[in-house]
């Protein structure tokens, strides 16, 4: 007996569909019925209880601007700082403070921490640079006074470290005078190999998200809602009818005045037709989103960015990808933009580039034993950078999803994915 997974068998999925012609309503070519009233997810939106509950209302979100302004000049210090390098070493490795300095900087064996990241420069020999206390202090307090487009969180301005703590970190930095020793290739972010996903994501023995395709979605498809109809009433041959549809989503929806993704479409279309209540991020909604995107597998992603409203939404999405949000003050592009963080490491986490992120969503998360759609992934990205997330049907997420999907135009859908 072996517990290890092995060369997977491609399971050809029997889709629970008859061979009759599709229903007239689905063939008419008109706009699909959508319930235009109400929200597609809970209001007020409540964060998942198992996620960190830190409130970040004082800082930017993708919908609101609230962060304090960047200082215009470095702060003047009255005199040399009297920090304790030992306390500074601990603070530099403190994971409760935004992931610690080591999240982005190689700094030698500070705090006994391993797996440093390389989003920022190697600071192992910063102590030899003869930088003044005031310069080091201001770099940590708010590096924007020296480097306006820096990736570094404004630790002081955003209240993550106080002046005294920054003084300790300055004292620690001045002790760094020798190249960092690495215990192994894995410890060195410049030599650490990027993760490669090799599992067969369409094998239901390996990817539990395939159970949505094989069991859950076909059952939902034929279950009548309060209005008496089921999905199958109009869509009798989904495998044929939806070969490419999901690859064109998200798209501009004039009736709602926003970008509509597969998940919100399912909520609003079901409400208008079968009467099912399938809010976004519910188990049923996610199962159907997996199924509909699975049916378009091997179709090239082809979202519209040419029509005037789509072009405007794309531009808004691009602008949002550059907006600094949260207490840690990161923009999407800081971590995932070419020539910024893409391909680098935050501690042991590799930062993916934007192209190729949307082709496998919704995806199974092995670390969480759950399927996440892309809106939930957006929400988690924000909570992880100490920002308040938006409800999954927020129009800002629609713009961002369109922008992100367009980065993957031409890539073939491969859903459900499987990732850590």
């Amino acid at each position: 007996m072996r517990f290890a997974s092995l060369a997977a068998i491609f399971a050809l999925v029997a889709l629970g569909a008859g061979a009759q012609a599709s229903g007239a309503a689905a063939q008419s070519g008109g706009a699909a019925p959508l319930a235009l009233d109400g929200d597609a997810s809970a209001r007020p939106w409540r964060r998942y209880h198992e996620w960190p509950q830190r409130d970040a209302t004082k800082f930017n979100t993708l919908a609101t601007l609230a962060s304090p302004p960047a200082p215009t000049a470095p702060r003047k210090l009255a005199g040399p700082l009297a920090g304790d390098p030992a306390i500074g070493a601990k603070l530099a490795a403190d994971r409760t403070r935004g992931g610690s300095c080591l999240a982005c900087h190689v700094m030698g064996p500070a705090g006994g921490a391993d797996l440093p990241g390389n989003l920022g420069p190697d600071l192992s020999e910063i102590g030899n640079a003869n930088l003044s206390d005031e310069t080091l202090f201001n770099f940590i307090y708010d590096a924007r006074v020296y480097v306006p487009d820096t990736l570094m969180p404004p630790w002081g301005t955003h209240g993550i470290f106080n002046d005294e703590e920054i003084g300790h970190i300055v004292a620690f930095l001045k002790t760094l005078k020798a190249p960092a020793p690495f215990k192994s290739e894995l410890d060195d972010p410049s030599r650490r190999p990027p993760p490669v996903e090799k599992r067969d994501n369409l094998d239901s023995m390996l990817n539990p998200a395939m159970w949505a395709v094989e069991d859950k979605a076909p059952a939902l498809w034929t279950s009548p809602g309060p209005a008496g109809a089921a999905c199958a009433t109009c869509h009798r041959e989904p495998a044929q009818a939806f070969k490419t549809w999901a690859a064109t989503m998200p798209r501009w929806e004039p009736r709602l005045g926003k970008i509509l993704g597969v998940e919100e479409f399912v909520t609003r279309h079901a409400k208008a037709t079968t009467g099912h209540a399938w809010p976004m991020e519910s188990e049923a909604n996610t199962a159907l989103a997996v199924y509909l995107r699975f049916l378009a597998n091997r179709s090239a992603i082809n979202v519209d960015t040419e029509s005037a409203p789509a072009k405007a939404a794309y531009a808004r999405g691009e602008a949002l990808s550059r907006r600094k949000v949260g207490q840690l003050n990161f923009a999407c592009v800081d971590c995932h933009g070419a020539h910024r963080g893409a391909g680098k490491w935050i501690r042991g986490q590799w930062l993916a580039q934007m192209r190729g992120t949307l082709d496998h969503f919704p995806t199974w998360r092995t670390s969480l034993q759950a399927i996440w759609d892309v809106r939930k992934r957006f929400q988690w990205c924000q909570v992880a950078i100490w920002a308040n997330e938006l409800p999954p049907d927020a129009k800002e997420y629609g713009d961002l999803e369109l922008y992100l999907a367009a980065q993957s135009n031409g890539l073939k859908l491969n859903v459900p994915g499987i990732r850590h």
Binding site: F3, S204, M205, D215
Partner: protein, 107 residues
């Protein structure tokens, strides 16, 4: 039981052939060592035994321990001399059993 077991058994085999069987059951395999938000231990609830019988005779069995991850997956081989029915059984800590049958034709 929310999920049905997933089983892969060939439909046909030659006499004397060694066939491969794969099974996977969705189960949390709660180890009994984790704590909930209030700090209380989450009670152990695992599949503690799996058996595979062929025409009533035991073909494969194993005991499972709390260290085994969620959704236990088994892969094993069986040599067949005659047609018949496999019966797969998963025994839960709560005393319940999940069973599933698969038939195979041996020529």
């Amino acid at each position: 039981m929310a999920e049905k077991p997933r089983i892969k058994v060939p439909k046909e085999a030659k006499k004397g052939e060694v066939i491969e069987i794969k099974t996977l059951l969705a189960h949390p395999m709660e180890s009994g060592l984790r704590k909930d938000e209030a700090g209380a231990l989450v009670p152990r609830k695992i599949i503690n035994r799996f058996t595979c019988e062929f025409n009533g005779a035991l073909a494969f069995a194993c005991d499972l321990e709390p260290a085994i991850a969620a959704n236990p997956y088994f892969q094993f081989t069986v040599k067949l001399e005659q047609s018949g029915t496999f019966r797969f059984t998963w025994i839960d800590d709560d005393g319940s059993a999940i069973t599933a049958d698969e038939t195979i034709t041996v020529t």
